[in-house]
Subunit: 184 residues, 2 copies
DNA sequence: TGGACGAAGGTGATGCGTCAACTAGCCGGG
DNA sequence: CCCGGCTAGTTGACGCATCACCTTCGTCCA
């Protein structure tokens, strides 16, 4: 490994800024949601996906792709949500292996109640702090990084790393803020 | 609560981009570190702080402020790291309540071994993807959000939220990439 | 002197996230 | 028909993060 290139001050500043952003932001959103609606941001993400789907239900596989989790995480999480009656599981008639995850009335009520406060928090701690130009700039940057992340399993970043594989990846959209009830 | 303002497409895009950034980025960095050095990013953050400190040690309080964790999280984490001989605890002679966290030789070796690969990963998945202008822009944005986050405990984001308290907060710097051995 | 208060730190319980391994069902070739 | 390999989903173990609570100690003021 040839002499590593440490970060220069500008790079370091950006990197530190990202560190300082992530953890506390998700923490504060989690607390808001927990306090006001007894939901976690993970719960919220699941409920949004379901509320946006036809029939208020989704195959586990689709959910996994939509919110970018590992399937085992989803499975564990759905089990916990099921025990709180927010969702239920159903068998899939056309694929014996498959499972549908379905939004219950309780779940729908929960997200409809939670959404306004959550959107307000997202605005208050993120969106409303930025100018339209900053929003656009931010999105561009984050999407570039996101695209790089989705193109892995190839060049694992050891050393200088020519990045071998690149490709068009469709952007999926985990954790929208607004549930399907938006505009009702 | 007056009719919530849902996110418009531009706002939604930026928000989604952030969601898509955070989780996978920290996941990939965690995996790189775990695979190559048997450390977590949390371990790394602790070790960097210690390696940057005079005497290779820090009061728990200082560490908590530096990396922005809750004290109980730090306590649990230090216990686990202690059991792996990466750090050790010492009593503070001048404050009976206090505890020093000290970098052991094992810990120093671990971070010196881990640092090059980690920096390479940070470059490969973040820093090197952005132009200098983007880096600066990103830092500015993230710092604005970070500042907002540090000014809470006051306006809790419910509703329209006039944000009452604002103040100068010094930016602390969790999780630098380079340990103090940089440049050796 | 002593007592209230707050700061430093630790602990136990609990829920979350990841990994590795597993079951069960689909699908294609022989 | 059945066998190998694939995909969908689940499970258990384990480490991590948070919450509420506790102890110990410094500090300030009467």
């Amino acid at each position: 490994m040839t002499d590593p290139r440490w970060l220069n001050p500008d790079e370091s500043r950006a990197w530190r800024a990202l560190q300082n952003l992530n953890m506390p932001l998700s923490a504060v959103l989690n607390r808001q949601l927990a306090r006001d609606s007894n939901l976690s941001t993970a719960d919220y993400a699941v409920l949004v996906q379901l509320s946006e789907s036809a029939d208020q239900r989704l195959r586990a596989r689709e959910m996994v792709q939509a919110i970018g989790w590992e399937k085992s995480r989803l499975s564990h999480h759905i089990r916990r949500m099921e025990s709180r009656h927010l969702v239920s599981r159903e068998e899939c008639p056309t694929d014996g292996r498959g499972a549908f995850i379905t939004l219950t009335p309780t779940g729908r009520a929960a997200i409809e109640q939670a959404a306004p406060g959550h959107v307000a928090a997202v605005r208050s701690y993120f969106v409303d702090l930025l100018t339209p130009a900053q929003l656009a700039s931010f999105a561009e940057i984050a999407e570039a990084v996101g695209a790089r992340l989705r193109s892995d399993g190839c060049g694992e970043a050891d050393g200088a790393t020519g990045d071998p594989c690149q490709g068009e990846v469709e952007t999926d959209c985990p954790d929208q803020v607004a549930p399907a009830c938006a505009g009702e």
